[in-house]
């Protein structure tokens, strides 16, 4: 896969990159969370955005889903520069984010959740039968094994819930799907549900996906490419086939060691000044 230079049109008439981020920076007062981020996402690609806690993943996600604006930089969707003003607006443009366990209503059934705010009605009543059948059909088409669409979501496992949240987002036909920590607090078996779903979506090829994670062992299995973000900068951009969990671990650990040493050094230098006594 080759990167198309800025402004140029790919041979098939469409931009090869569905999403491109250029020189994005984000500052909160004196704190700089993101420094000159350049990132691209190809059509039907699954990109893993990984990094330790506090590296800037969440900040980048919040910018991409329209929750907060960047301090500077440009975002291109389908070759067009866009300004994201709100989550709703980002969604209407085709960028949708799925958050861990946030989007579903536990007290409602699977199919009501899947159709939440897009309900089918036979005015004035809900058309439950139609929604039930359609939910069943769509879940089956995605290869999701949800035994009963009538069940309250509260009764499902974490993996199933997350999968339903993803499935719901896919219905609105987004161009870009952002999955925030989809495997957090999930066992191997649970996580497999999500990974299978991502593979299935990749095969269908209608949506490009960015998976945000800090545990990348499993993520690497489904990603085409990974970007490692450290200290607000992207420090690695490789195809999944060119890297390994070992390499990523080494990079993160090396950074952690360095940070630790820095901290110890500064602690050593500040301790010579003596701690301020806390007495009144």
């Amino acid at each position: 896969m080759t990167t198309v230079p800025e402004g140029q049109v790919a041979p098939d008439g469409a931009h090869a990159d569905i999403l491109r981020v250029e020189h994005i920076s984000k500052r909160y007062g004196a704190v700089t969370a993101l420094i000159d981020i350049n990132m691209r996402l190809a059509r039907a690609e699954v990109l893993g955005l990984i990094g330790d806690n506090g590296a800037g993943k969440s900040t980048l996600l919040k910018i991409l889903c329209g929750f907060q604006p960047p301090t500077s930089g440009h975002i291109f969707l389908d070759g067009q520069e866009i300004t994201l003003k709100s989550v709703d607006q980002a969604r209407s443009l085709g960028i949708d984010a799925v958050y861990q366990d946030l989007a579903l209503v536990n007290q409602l059934t699977v199919y009501h959740n899947m159709f939440l705010n897009r309900e089918r009605v036979r005015w004035p009543l809900l058309n439950n039968r139609s929604m039930r059948n359609e939910a069943r059909r769509r879940l089956d088409a995605m290869g999701l094994k949800i035994p009963n669409v009538n069940a309250e979501v509260a009764k499902l496992s974490g993996g199933q819930r997350q999968a339903i949240a993803v499935a719901r987002s896919v219905y609105s036909n987004p161009k870009v799907l952002l999955l925030d920590e989809p495997l957090a607090a999930m066992g191997v078996k649970e996580g497999a549900i999500i990974l299978d779903l991502v593979r299935e979506l990749k095969e269908q090829g209608n949506v490009s996906i960015i998976i945000i994670a800090h545990n990348y062992g499993q993520i690497l299995e489904v990603c085409d490419r990974v970007n490692l973000i450290q200290g607000g900068k992207i420090t690695l951009d490789k195809y999944a086939s060119e890297t390994s969990a070992q390499e990523l671990t080494d990079l993160v650990v090396a950074e952690y060691r360095k940070a630790l040493e820095d901290r110890q050094r500064s602690a050593a230098s500040s301790s010579s000044l003596g701690e301020t006594p806390r007495s009144q």
């Binding site: 989007a103 579903l104 939440l116 439950n128 009764k155």
Partner: protein, 355 residues
């Protein structure tokens, strides 16, 4: 608990009664069926209502008479049923309206003032009064949703204001219904002009049926549950949380005004001591008895209606068999606490996958 499959499915709460081991297949199926029935909270309340009803019927020949049943259903139960319906709408979306009992108190006075002092036609006065209920609800919603006050505090404030307005304008004195309301009074079930006695309960049942359908079968109801169950998630899905809450506050206010009018017509007097906190809290208690969680997201109108009916059977039955109403409150309070415990425990059972 050795042989049943259900015993092995990991129960976190205490084992429910009637689930002990033994019995052949048929008995077990029956018991399981009955267990599933009882796990529907409405059914539990219904069983208690029927049992109490039978008890009072056997114990006193005065219980199952036309006069007493009309009094029980129209005089006692109907206002509680309507108010409980109103509160359930709000409780499900995680709010409460403490002022609804005073909207109740003020509504008939407003109608009276409009007719007696401003010469407004009766029908128009009633419509204005109902709109006033909507406005009170909108004010409560403004304080809660727009200004972000907890609804418990916001509606506590409006309660005092409404009650203050009642006492100031009426000088604390009851008023008589204007003669021009006599005709429409029958429609609301005025006891002195109509011996039929079932109007109010028919109003109540109609309201329960309508709002039960609204809550379970319409987008509005689904969104109300979604807002109460996961406000952030509902907003994420594009549901206007403010719109849902404004609507339910306003609906509650209007139902409060409607009950105020209905009770004034039923009693054939406008009483500044009618309604108030007692009616409001009994309505909330009825909702809790019927399975509504005060944390939002769960509850049924049908359950609340049955809870209110249970309360009315209690009050009327004990009066009929000549037991003082004072210890009744102890029983009732204990019943509310037990119902709340059951709500929490059943919620856990349900989450453990036992349906």
């Amino acid at each position: 608990m050795s042989n049943t499959a259900e015993a092995a499915t990991g129960v976190t709460g205490p084992p429910p009664g009637g689930q002990t081991a033994g019995g052949n297949g048929v008995l077990r199926t029956l018991r399981r069926g009955f267990g599933a029935f009882l796990r529907q909270r409405e059914a539990t309340v219904l069983v208690v209502v029927v049992a109490l009803f039978l008890y009072f019927t056997i114990d006193s020949s005065n219980f199952l008479t036309h006069a007493n049943q009309a009094n029980l259903l129209s005089g006692i139960a109907a206002p509680y049923i309507i108010l409980a319906t109103a509160e359930v709408l709000l409780l499900i979306c995680g709010e409460i309206d403490l002022s609804v009992g005073f909207t109740f108190t003020l509504a008939p006075f407003l109608m009276y003032f409009l007719i007696a002092y401003d010469g407004v036609p009766v029908i128009l006065a009633i419509i204005i009064t109902l709109i006033f209920g909507l406005v009170v609800g909108a004010v409560n919603a403004f304080l809660t949703v727009t200004l972000g006050l907890p609804s418990f505090i916001a509606t506590l404030g409006t309660s005092f204001i409404l009650y203050g307005v009642v006492l100031t304008t009426s000088h604390g004195e009851p008023a008589t219904l204007p003669a021009s309301t006599e005709h429409i009074g029958k429609f609301f079930g005025n006891e002195t002009t109509s011996a039929w006695g079932w109007s109010a309960i028919i109003w109540a049942v109609l309201i329960v049926v309508i709002f039960h359908i609204v809550l379970t079968q319409t987008r509005w109801g689904l969104h109300t549950v979604a807002v109460g169950g996961n406000q952030l998630g509902a907003r994420e899905a594009g549901i206007s949380v403010a719109r849902i809450k404004y609507g339910n506050f306003m609906m509650t206010g209007m139902l409060g005004a409607l009950v105020g009018l209905q009770v004034a017509f039923y009693d054939n007097t406008i009483d500044p001591s009618a309604g108030g906190y007692q009616y409001m809290f009994y309505a909330v208690a009825a909702a809790v008895l019927g399975g509504t969680a005060l944390l939002g997201g769960a509850g049924t109108i049908l359950g609340a209606g049955l809870g209110a009916l249970l309360l009315a059977v209690f009050i009327d039955g004990f009066a009929i068999i000549g037991i003082s109403a004072n210890p009744l409150l102890i029983v009732f309070g204990a019943g509310v606490v037990v119902a709340m415990i059951a709500n929490v425990q059943l919620g856990r059972l349900r989450e453990a996958g036992r349906t």
